[in-house]
């Protein structure tokens, strides 16, 4: 099944942040069971202002400011989800998921299975990822690999305003716990988003740019980076295909493998720490599935394996850039 993509959409342009806001507003209008719980989500609309206006429309009963208690915010929403509500948990920085792991992993992810299919936990956790904001080691991590590792959870990572809206609506309608990672630096990014209702299915990767010489598979913040790299590569006569996995769990292995078979070269780019990260899973899936078609080893580009440093001159080295991705691609293509 092919998901709709930006190509076949109307011209209205809004920001990534507005797309998130719209998705939440539409789903809250559609379904009275949907509510938001998090820190400074009401009047403040979060520090990123992504939720601005929602409390005005839906009131403090559905857009609820919480104490600074990530574990309980999550746990309370697990309980609410088990008993007929559809909570959207707001965890300000992805670094703080460390405090929610027990409720997400030992509770939310397992309740359906442990109950033999009798209970369900339709919960969405919205949180953030991404570095280079000079926010240092505890406010810059991209920890989506952890949740991607856990059966029972789904993980979505939009890379455009269009995808953000469509994937978030799908997440809210999903009957399972879904973790939704938003790149902090992308909130101001503008892109086409149709006025009308649409959703984007999970587990369907999106070819953001087609090419024939090399496949670049990217997630979230790294999709735009990879598209810029593809531009650079075009000038060097290399045609790069850029694929956005959109969801790491479920993962659309087939689309990734088919593209790698076609181009016979692949790079995986993700902003999480490289070691034991998302790039490892995707690279090994391709190395296995496209084994007999590959002309070169699948290369991985994750965040450097260091805590994120504060100093700009150091931080900027830790994340893949259009140049570094293009460099790697050229090497792989022997140019």
């Amino acid at each position: 099944m092919k998901a709709p993509t930006q190509q076949n959409t109307a011209v209205r342009e809004i920001t990534f942040g507005q797309a998130i806001n719209e998705a939440l507003a539409e789903e809250m209008r559609r379904d009275p069971r949907v509510f938001i719980l998090g820190e400074d989500v009401a009047e403040a609309g979060t520090p990123f202002k992504v939720l601005s206006g929602l409390v005005k429309e839906f009131g403090k009963e559905r857009v609820i400011d919480s104490p600074i208690s990530e574990a309980a915010i999550t746990g309370v929403c697990v309980g609410a989800a088990m008993t007929g509500m559809r909570p959207v948990v707001d965890i300000m920085f992805g670094d703080f998921i460390t405090l929610t792991m027990d409720q997400m992993v030992n509770q939310a992810a397992k309740i359906r299975y442990m109950s033999g299919g009798k209970l369900k936990v339709p919960l969405v956790m919205r949180t953030t990822l991404g570095a280079t904001r000079r926010s240092a080691a505890q406010h810059s991590q991209s920890l989506h690999a952890w949740f991607s590792h856990i059966p029972g959870l789904k993980v979505a990572l939009p890379s455009t305003p269009y995808d953000a809206k469509g994937l978030l609506k799908t997440a809210i309608r999903d009957d399972n716990p879904v973790v939704f990672f938003e790149d902090k630096l992308m909130y101001q990014l503008k892109g086409p988003v149709p006025e009308g209702e649409y959703t984007i299915p999970f587990g369907v990767a999106d070819v953001k740019r087609s090419g024939k010489d090399i496949t670049i598979i990217a997630t979230s913040s790294m999709v735009q980076v990879s598209l810029s790299a593809a531009e650079i590569l075009e000038n060097s006569g290399i045609s790069a295909e850029v694929i956005d996995v959109r969801t790491t769990a479920p993962l659309d292995k087939e689309t990734l493998i088919e593209s790698a078979k076609k181009t016979s070269r692949a790079i995986v780019v993700d902003e999480g720490y490289e070691r034991y990260g998302v790039t490892a899973e995707i690279a090994s899936v391709i190395a296995d599935g496209a084994f007999y078609y590959l002309d070169a080893p699948v290369k991985r580009m994750g965040a450097m394996d260091v805590p994120v440093p504060f100093s700009p001159v150091l931080e900027d080295q830790t994340v893949p850039t259009p140049d570094s991705v293009a460099e790697m691609a050229k090497k792989l293509c022997g140019k």
Partner: protein, 330 residues
């Protein structure tokens, strides 16, 4: 404040007294059966027996409606039965059979029975405080007058999540009762070595009214529970209910040599003087609610139910192999 504009509950009627006894005895005999199953290697995994604490689960659950919620713990058989679960499907779950409440996937530490509002046992100490608090929040948001009871052992007082949840419950006046069963031990350590200050004060600090009573007296547990459930239902918010009790057996069935952490004499004291089932039996006679004959008649019936339940479970099939990857996602 706990009693603010709450009329005292009506007295306990004959049928109620008898139901309390049936339910408490059912838990007692169920757990003795579990003990046998485990010792005879018919039951896999771990088993944490509720024997000695029966008055708490029964006294509280008898004050709840079928659609009220409870969350339970690793020592959860008693809560599950008290909320109305069937013996046979529980045994089946404990043996990992497909006819169990969770198709054998959950086992002793994860039985859930949502038709009767049991959101599940939990093998993470304190792990269900968020769930119970969330169920109460959900009731509020849905405009329902359901109440949630969060059962936990005093060991869960060590988990920070409890305090985060009590803060929210108090702020938002949620209909949740934090039911702390102080059976004196966190596994193999006396609670006084792990618990500073005064237990009730930990809830009072959040403005939550508390009750602290003898958990071996089912009448006292029940009347107090009625009052707290009533105030929660009326929208007066959460409460903290501390019941002093004791587990008669080991932390789990395998915990036989306990001398290094608690004196045999202490165990004997409780078993001989403070056995909630024996105390209730005596009371029934004293109140002339039931004579010796009636009491043993009840026991006979329940033994029959237990035996039939074990039979059912032993003969029930295991899940098909292909169920292993079913129910991961809804």
């Amino acid at each position: 404040m706990a009693k603010k504009n709450i009329k005292g509950p009506p007295n306990i009627g004959r049928d109620e007294w008898l139901r309390f006894y049936r339910q408490m005895l059912k838990i007692r005999l169920f757990e003795e059966q579990v003990n046998d199953l485990y010792r005879s290697a018919k039951m896999p995994g771990l088993a944490h027996l509720y024997i000695g604490q029966e008055a708490v689960a029964v006294g509280v659950c008898e004050a709840l409606r079928a659609d009220d919620y409870i969350t339970s713990t690793h020592r959860g058989h008693g809560h599950c039965l008290a909320k109305g679960a069937a013996v046979n499907k529980m045994f089946a779950e404990l043996l990992g059979k497909v006819d169990g409440y969770c198709r054998g996937k959950g086992g002793s530490m994860h039985i859930a029975d949502q038709e009767r509002g049991n959101l599940g046992a939990n093998a993470i100490v304190g792990g269900s405080t968020g769930i119970a608090t969330g169920a109460a929040m959900s009731a509020r948001l849905r405009g329902s007058d359901q109440v949630a009871v969060c059962f936990f052992g005093e060991g869960a007082l060590g988990q920070g999540l409890l305090y985060e949840c009590m803060n929210m419950a108090a702020l938002w006046k949620l209909p949740v009762i934090y039911l702390c069963e102080n059976n004196c031990y966190n596994e193999y350590t006396h609670y006084s070595e792990t618990t500073a200050g005064e237990i009730e004060a930990r809830a009072k600090a959040f403005g939550i009214p508390t009750e602290s009573i003898d958990g071996q007296d089912v009448e006292l547990v029940h009347k107090t529970a009625r009052r707290l459930v009533e105030r929660a239902r009326q929208g007066d918010g959460p409460s903290f209910f501390l019941c002093h009790t004791y587990r008669f057996h080991g932390h789990h069935v395998g915990d036989i040599d306990r001398a290094y952490y608690r004196a045999k004499k202490e165990e004997e004291e409780w078993k001989s003087r403070r056995d909630p089932v024996a105390l209730l039996a005596a009371k029934l006679k004293k109140l002339k609610v039931a004579d010796e004959k009636a009491v043993s008649q009840i026991e006979k019936e329940i033994r029959g139910e237990i035996e039939a339940g074990v039979e059912f479970a032993l003969n029930a099939p295991y899940p098909n192999a292909d169920e292993v990857d079913q129910h991961v996602y809804a």
